[in-house]
Amino acid sequence: MKALVAVKRVVDYNVKVRVKADKTGVELANVKMALNPFDEIAVEEAVRLKEKGVVSEIIVATVGPATAQEQLRTALALGADRAILVQTDEDAQPLAIAKILKGIVDAEKPELIILGKQAIDGDNNQTGQMLAALGGFAQGTFASVVKLEGGKAQVTREIDGGLQTVELNLPAVVTTDLRLNEPRYASLPNIMKAKKKPLDTKTPGDFGVSALTSVKTLKVEPPAERKAGIVVKTVEELVEKLKNEAKVI
């Protein structure tokens, strides 16, 4: 079966982002960009399923600027077979991204569609669920185990109280949680090979999607700063402060 993996180019998770002085957004100039960590896990899961012989071909797709080719090449180096860049300089929102991905699903007919549970820039946690709704597909979100057998997917999900397992008809959408797997590093030969793998470029219009946003960002501000606290010397002092100063115990 074919697998489709959706990935996003985001600010590297180690970067502490700063809000721009004019409050229009966060500073992105000269900031290290990377594959969204959850999407790296999504690619890794697809590659493992291919290594097991369950998946035959892995297509990786992104909606984003021309520079997002870097992240597609990273995914190809990790083991994806070919890539699709749906190019736009607009910051597309989850509904539009889901519609574009639905267009790719209609064209490619994958039986397994893997996304990250959330992109660590917007922290939306929506796109996979929206894609599933648009396609009428079953979904296994926040997955920590994915098994494919008997024409179904069994997904163990991380939920507030613990773990839940669901069985999904195919095609199904899976979104990854951190413990699903530990992604490999791309080897140098694979990075070289990835440069020759096919990468198609499309536009949102090719999928009939024109409106990319419906939510306007009016301003972006830094969060309220916490005042620097004090370092206490002894546990007695700590308890005294908690009782008499902070009054929380």
């Binding site: 502490k16 989850p94 509904l95 929506q126 669920q129 069985e167 005042k227 546990v235």
Partner: protein
């Protein structure tokens, strides 16, 4: 304007996060209806009817909603939700699971994890692991929102007397099936609503050592949380993870033990009223957000602390 609030419940009672979500609905303003979708959920619906500010409770009691399967619940909420100006659900794993489907079925975007209502179409929400707060305005006809419980006080659980109305909408997509679940059982308070949270990180060394945190927590009436590193190392189960991609908590007191304070962890706890950090590394970033820090070996400090509180 009328607002539909999706209740988080266990069929017998309403979960605390629902009460915070109702406060967000009150801030938007308008008639507030609560939907209880479940199986054998009359008791939960009766409890919802007593919440202050609720004018009507809709009870969708059907086997299809028993395990909150997103495929079924989203179809129900999208159908009922058409007549409302706003649809709200708590930003629990359940709300995050089904509500984006509702938004897609209604052809609108969802606004995730709002922490403040500025006006009926404008909201604040954290982005980049809470390192920035965005004010966003929706032009969609129906506003679909998940509500971060720590951003809003809880509405009073009593004082209301809404009518409970049964809705006979059965939506079974038939595409997914519940297989089983493993739920953590604990007599300690739930992380989400606890007044005091004691969390352990990689510094705890192993799962067995968490015993000293459990015993401190029991003395304080606290919930116990963890960093991702502690969960990844298998010290404790995943439902204890606090952070950007785990649970967000804002207790009166948060005690971080053997946790370095990575931005992803801070995202889940830096709105706590008072933060205490216990760490042997005086340079650990956790000290930059702590009201009270103590530098030293947690295996000395935690037992002493337990004795003195």
């Amino acid at each position: 304007m009328s607002i539909l609030v999706y209740a988080e419940h266990d069929n017998a009672s309403i979960k605390g996060a629902t009460l915070n979500t109702i406060t967000a609905a009150k801030a938007i303003g308008g008639d507030i209806h609560v939907l209880v979708a479940g199986q054998g959920a009359q008791a939960a619906a009766d409890a919802a009817a007593k919440i202050d500010g609720v004018s009507k409770v809709l009870l969708a009691d059907n086997a299809a909603y028993g395990h909150q399967l997103a495929e079924n619940v989203s179809a129900l909420v999208a159908e009922l939700g058409k007549g409302y100006s706003h649809i709200l659900a708590p930003a629990t794993t359940n709300g995050k699971n089904f509500l984006p489907r509702v938004a897609a079925l209604l052809d609108v975007n969802q606004i995730s994890e709002i922490t403040k209502v500025v006006s009926p179409d404008t909201f604040e929400r954290p982005i980049y692991a809470g390192n920035a707060i965005a004010t966003v305005q929706s032009t969609d006809a129906i506003k679909v929102l998940t509500v971060r419980p720590t951003g809003f006080d809880a509405a009073a659980a009593t004082g209301g007397s809404a009518a409970v109305e049964a809705v006979a909408v059965a939506k079974d997509a038939g595409t997914s099936k519940f297989v089983g679940e493993e739920l953590a059982k604990s007599d300690r308070p739930e992380l989400a609503g606890a007044k005091i949270v004691v969390s352990g990180g990689r510094g705890m060394g192993n799962g067995d050592n968490f015993k000293i945190l459990y015993s401190l927590a029991d003395k304080l009436g606290a919930a116990v949380g963890a960093s991702r590193a502690a969960v990844d190392a298998g010290f404790v189960p995943n439902d204890m993870q606090v952070g950007q991609t785990g649970k967000v908590v804002a207790p009166q007191l948060y005690v971080a033990v053997g946790i370095s304070g990575a931005i992803q962890h801070l995202a889940g706890m830096k709105d706590s009223k008072v933060i205490v950090a216990i760490n042997k590394d005086a340079e650990a970033p956790i000290f930059s957000v702590a009201d009270y820090g103590i530098v030293g070996d947690l295996f000395d400090i935690v037992p002493q602390l337990e004795k003195l509180v």
